[in-house]
Symmetry: C2
Subunit: 394 residues, 2 copies
Amino acid sequence: MNAGLLRSSFIVVIEAYLQHGMLSRSDLAALTGISRSAITEITQNLLDMGLLQEFPVIQEKQGRGRPAVSLRFSASHGYFIGVSVTDTPSLVILADMQGNVVGECEIPPSDAPQKLATTIRQAMNDLLRRTGVPRSRLLSIGIAVTGVVDENNGVCRYSAALNWRDVPIAELVKKATGAEAYVGNDANAVAIGEKLFGRARDLRHFSSLILGGNIGCAHYIEGNLYRGYDGGAGEIGHVTLDVNGPRCRCGKNGCLDMYAGGTAMLGLAKAAGLDCQTVHDLEGLATVGNAKAMSILRNGGQALGLAVASLIQINNPKCVLFADVEGFGKGIFQATTRQVIENNILPRFLASTEIVFHQVERSFLARAAASVAAQQYLRTGIVSRVNGSTLQKS
Amino acid sequence: MNAGLLRSSFIVVIEAYLQHGMLSRSDLAALTGISRSAITEITQNLLDMGLLQEFPVIQEKQGRGRPAVSLRFSASHGYFIGVSVTDTPSLVILADMQGNVVGECEIPPSDAPQKLATTIRQAMNDLLRRTGVPRSRLLSIGIAVTGVVDENNGVCRYSAALNWRDVPIAELVKKATGAEAYVGNDANAVAIGEKLFGRARDLRHFSSLILGGNIGCAHYIEGNLYRGYDGGAGEIGHVTLDVNGPRCRCGKNGCLDMYAGGTAMLGLAKAAGLDCQTVHDLEGLATVGNAKAMSILRNGGQALGLAVASLIQINNPKCVLFADVEGFGKGIFQATTRQVIENNILPRFLASTEIVFHQVERSFLARAAASVAAQQYLRTGIVSRVNGSTLQKS
DNA sequence: CCCATTTATTTCAAAAACGGAAATAAATAA
DNA sequence: TTATTTATTTCCGTTTTTGAAATAAATGGG
């Protein structure tokens, strides 16, 4: 399966950092079962290559003996480009290893994959020049796409939003830029972003949802993104809530997307004669007491709440993270969702499950895309470096 | 974390067999990335200890070169006792390493844990005597319990059916019998049973459901039982289907159990004046055209179908296995469930997801319990043996 | 302030595990 | 029968890992 396999303890250690973020050598030894002596050597190598960095901990609750020194990925070890082709206009960002956005740049929307690749090259050069990051420190490029993605082969199988079918976008971008490129479904990218760079850094079990035109969802299970048997996990948007509900473009009736998707809600608002261009406007109307707006948002929240309640009881995540990219804010939609969740899960889940809504910055999805690149680099790309010059006998 | 850690390749190989059932040395090398030479040595050790056995394959589609010889766990390496305290009267079975039931024995229902432990000892002795299996070959005891179970500590936290709270049943049984004992939630046990001994031997992603008085559910993800963040995964029985539905004993309304649980359906039947003691009777009435019976079963199937459709779209399992312990048979309930599932999942899931109903034998749950013991033995119990006499330098 | 205690990390030699190349085995196709 | 193909084993050198002892860096108590 693996040709020149990276020695296994190395992988184990990197995985541990991917899953836990920050760990002392002692933690590592305890967690992985590798002896402390071996841990010393491995971390020394990783420190030498600049991947890990000692982190001066000021722990309030310092115990008795010598304090442990924590290690984590070094922010400046390398940089990643993240591209979100989900929204329009698309955004390209440059992030470091810890997910700090060091530069961003807007690119015009473009449906033609080849043209997109060229645009990304320009954006990349632009960002590197502006930030002064040398090309050699750019490790890889991550692309988040709405739709069905074959992440192993870097192909977007189908995207309704972009009108793509079987587009080998990773390869196109690699050819255009000369950098390794990876694609991911946007919902998966968000989950990876929350794990590596966001609010889920030390969670091993969580689900994340994007509240956008449609509802995207992905799960982390046992510290790893769970893609499902054939990559289809997370299709919560098409959970049926009412078999007699409105027809969805998927052909079924009463899908969650038809109630809680931004697109659907705006459609309902328009049909009800409301004057609003965005979900934010709709929330605004609800705030001033517009009954129709309130009803639409409440129904949406109710639907989302029920679907997420099912998710919680089926999968028992530690946390459910909602990323509000649409602009709901702290309004009636969010309040209803939370309440319906709480009313429809068993008490023991109520006590142990965190529900977190957060409004996200414009760069959120692009940053998520960068996290895909970072994760891939850490999982596979790094092998070449380790086998290369740095690791040879000290 | 692990004191005398078993060398890692050993664990990897055993895990590979737990997850794949039957593998040749070549398969193993490809799957694990371990070199063929190492695989030869490891499998030799496992063969020597009698854990693995070469399996004379008569492969129809034999290729060109030397045929691979498959290995799998040796059925006679050891035996396990499985106890199902879920149903009444409880059943105790003796199974070999491949899940063949070599002896079974009924025990009277008993709510008192201490008494149960004593009864299990008697049953154990009885089974060993009757089958001629020497005590030394009995590796461990598995107990499946309905309710909330702390599987790490062997404690049943709460079981409404048995009226137990914080019962350290594993320890009680261990003291009574002198054998290592493990407890598992019955739904989890069924999933493990399907994986190790049943219809899921070579599936890495599946969910299994028990259709009994209530609906139990558990998931295998990436080849491992997924218990959730705090052991609560699989509570599909309390998925809300209708917020205005009948009140469940959990305090919520319209839970799946209230429509598709055997107990609830029989209650509805009784309320409708139908004369039936079992779900099987109810199906019988439906078969001869009784409208009320048909309606109850159809509603139940509809509810179950919707909940499972959600499960499929959220988790994308390869297969959903229904274990019919209640006696529905191939009736209207099953047909409706299947149809509703098919109508409420996206086409791509319809193509890739197997839905399997199977009626199970009386010994099914006890066998599942034995599989819990077998899995625990393979994961942890075996360490002592390997570190012991057998593995020393050849 | 010094010393015993505690916990973390490193050092170093011995042992174990692992990989690579070549040999051997067991089949099929010609 | 021989060439070819794939699986498995053998052999040997090297890398990795471990275990025990040493060292480091803190706290708490005289």
